[in-house]
């Protein structure tokens, strides 16, 4: 790989959408300065896209556009994959690595599904794979995990890694909006897609949890190892109750390591409004982590958007180009641990559960006795929640009942809730939010 000093480092770009075209812009517009940073120039040799006629940004030379993605993937020193998804992207990333090219990608779904296989393929072919943009957009989190914390032990991470849901929850919190209203506004402002399922059900965050767990704990964690709960059952009553307790609700990707294994989960959680994550507003992202020696760390920034994501992508390209200029490569992603996935009940938690109930005498006693029968201890009860528009089936005769438990395991909690829902006086879907210390 060691080339002559002034010979350009060849870069191929797969995908010319929002992030792809911004990435090309950073490479082309900053070519002189990037050459100074690297010690050799970068040359963008090809941009693969579905329809060259649709790519009209002035900084991409028309002559570079091609529909022959495989040719771009297999004829460069560095291949930037911004196609997305786990189909074609997988084929082309594999082809690039097998050719000994290094890959830079922002594709969280690809890495959550095929990451360990691709990391090993890269090492086998003496190539690198970088993907800082895949988690937290512009936020440098993966490089700190691979390098800065290389002398420490990460114990757990809590990430706000989906800007759409953070925006929705933040609007609900600051403006008292109901979920449906906040979602609609997010869609109107372009923060949420027309089909918001991947965001609001937590699947996007789940991909990032798998990546964080793999890098943080040096063990294989895939998307199928992540348990996921979204925010669709959270309503204004939950937010109001949180506020009264000086807390906020955030959708978190939570990864941890205990003696029973590693866990990777996505769920809505109540955190103190004094926690650093509580101040992460709007569509911003942040990853809070605790390491054995470094103690608490937090990384905050833009989790999405063309320019911020492109900044992270080009940071990776420059880092890898420096390695190539020196005839070497970056640190391998070593998954030297083989930790099991911790059982769901390994860690006990406290929960805030809100039921919609028929307002009749004895409801609380009936619900409380179900909790008692399952041995789930109750820490607090709130029956006078302000009614909200979206409480399913809510009308003047119905109420909401919120119960905060002491520590319990999840299986027991789920069984308790199932039995509570069998009561005639309890209707609709409950909301379930974890309470973090």
């Amino acid at each position: 790989m060691a080339l002559q000093t002034d010979q350009p480092i060849r870069v191929g770009l797969l995908g010319a959408g929002t992030v792809g075209s911004q990435t090309a812009r950073l490479i082309v517009d900053q070519s002189e300065e990037l050459a100074l940073r690297i010690g050799r120039p970068l040359e963008l040799t090809g941009v693969a896209c579905l329809d060259p006629a649709e790519v009209t940004v002035p900084w991409i030379d028309k002559a570079l556009l091609t529909t022959d993605t495989m040719a771009v993937a297999t004829s460069n020193d560095i291949v930037i994959e911004l196609i997305g998804g786990t189909g074609a992207a997988y084929t082309f990333v594999k082809a690039a690595l097998e050719k000994g090219a290094s890959v830079v990608t922002a594709n969280k779904a690809l890495l959550a599904k095929y990451g360990p296989e691709l990391y090993e393929l890269a090492e086998k072919n003496n190539a690198d794979i970088y993907f800082e943009a895949a988690v937290g957009g512009a936020i440098p989190i993966l490089r700190p995990l691979r390098e800065s914390l290389a002398g420490d032990q990460v114990e757990h991470m809590l990430g706000i890694v989906n800007g759409t849901t953070n925006y929705i929850l933040d609007e609900m919190t600051t403006k008292g909006l109901d979920f449906d209203v906040a979602l609609r506004q997010a869609q109107e402002k372009g923060y949420a897609e027309a089909d918001p399922t991947g965001d609001i059900e937590g699947y996007d965050a789940a991909n990032k949890a798998a990546i964080l767990a793999t890098l943080g704990f040096h063990t294989k964690v895939g998307i199928d190892d992540v348990t996921v709960e979204g925010i669709t059952h959270i309503d204004a009553a939950d937010i109001a109750a949180a506020k009264a307790e000086h807390k906020v609700i955030k959708l978190l990707a939570v990864v941890g390591r205990t003696e029973e294994g590693v866990s990777a989960r996505v769920y809505p959680a109540l955190i103190s409004d004094e926690h650093p994550l509580a101040s992460v507003r709007g569509s911003f992202n942040a990853i809070f982590l605790h390491a054995k020696y470094a103690d608490d760390l937090m990384f905050y920034g833009r989790g999405a958007g063309g320019a911020p994501t492109a900044s992270a992508v080009v940071g990776d390209v420059v880092t890898e180009a420096r390695h190539i200029a020196q005839g070497t490569r970056g640190p391998a992603i070593r998954m030297y641990n083989d930790f099991p996935i911790a059982p769901l009940d390994a860690a006990k938690a406290a929960f805030a559960v809100r039921f919609v109930i028929l307002d009749s005498p004895g409801v609380l006693a009936k619900v409380a006795s179900v909790f008692a029968a399952h041995g789930v201890s109750i820490n607090g009860v709130n029956q006078d929640l302000k009614p909200t528009q979206v409480a399913p089936g809510y009308d003047g005769e119905r109420q909401q009942l919120r119960i905060v438990t002491h520590l319990t395991d999840e299986t027991t909690l789920r069984a308790t809730i199932d039995d509570v829902l069998k009561l005639d006086c309890v209707i609709g879907e409950p909301s379930i939010v974890r309470v973090l210390d």
Copy 2:
């Protein structure tokens, strides 16, 4: 530098104080896991200290202790400098680099004074110099600047980079304490030294500002280029006035780049209580930065302490050991720009100035006319500040007058204040705090 695969990478440690002994602990206690992360074992070959009899921690083998610092500095692959200061540390770091050893240091004063010379010496000798722990302790900020943001343009950074002053200001804010009381408490709790000058006058933060500016703008900025104001004139009245405006006062290291050059400054500033830096409490540190494409980023964590600082040091050691294992080196610190230091008045600012005045008729008119004479426009006035114990010379007949200006340049403001202080009705030292947007 390429050695056989199983041959240990030799590490020498200079200094066995709090950080030094914690660093040794992380290397010794985690030796097996670090070898997996690097691909080769680390061997701690020597620990130089002033008095081996004083080093009693069980994880440092007595046989490694020596007073021959030069021998340790010149006989290893990686030399960790934790002596501190700019005297002996400079001699030994230079000797190590000249021998082709890579250096890891936490010494902000050394880098603020001799950084550019040492970066060039490292490159000349095909060695690396890493110093993540020198700014923000355990917080990964220098590596993101060198690598993650290598495809972007940093525009400015605001850093809370001194835990002692942040602790003092935070105690003043949350408990309404006066400066002297908060300082005394910080000393009792070990957050401030017996001689707190270096912290409270801003000199410690100034070293970090010089390092941040050099790495952020790829240009030489030394400690003598940094202008410094401390927090000794801030009192409870300033904090109370800030609170009333939903702001907090923080001591910031501020580095920026404009067409007129780069600036590196340390000063107390008013920031909105919704700014991410406002939630940085107690002795925590954080660096907030704005880059052209990545937009806003913030990095938060422990800025000091034995274990957190050692975590950053060993992260650097592992990173460099991987390079050595691959027979290569890390990215050079390229200072390819030669920006001038921007003149003091290049950027206009708004200021909050608090005077101690004799409570007599016409004082406000007299002070206001001095401001008018200098063309400094007044944005707000507050004459009924709650008196505090430490207002210099305060007694029943004296008051405090706080004036917030519109944008002005610093030379004009200083001249205005000098003239105000000539008035008979104005006494003592004023406090001057910048107002940030």
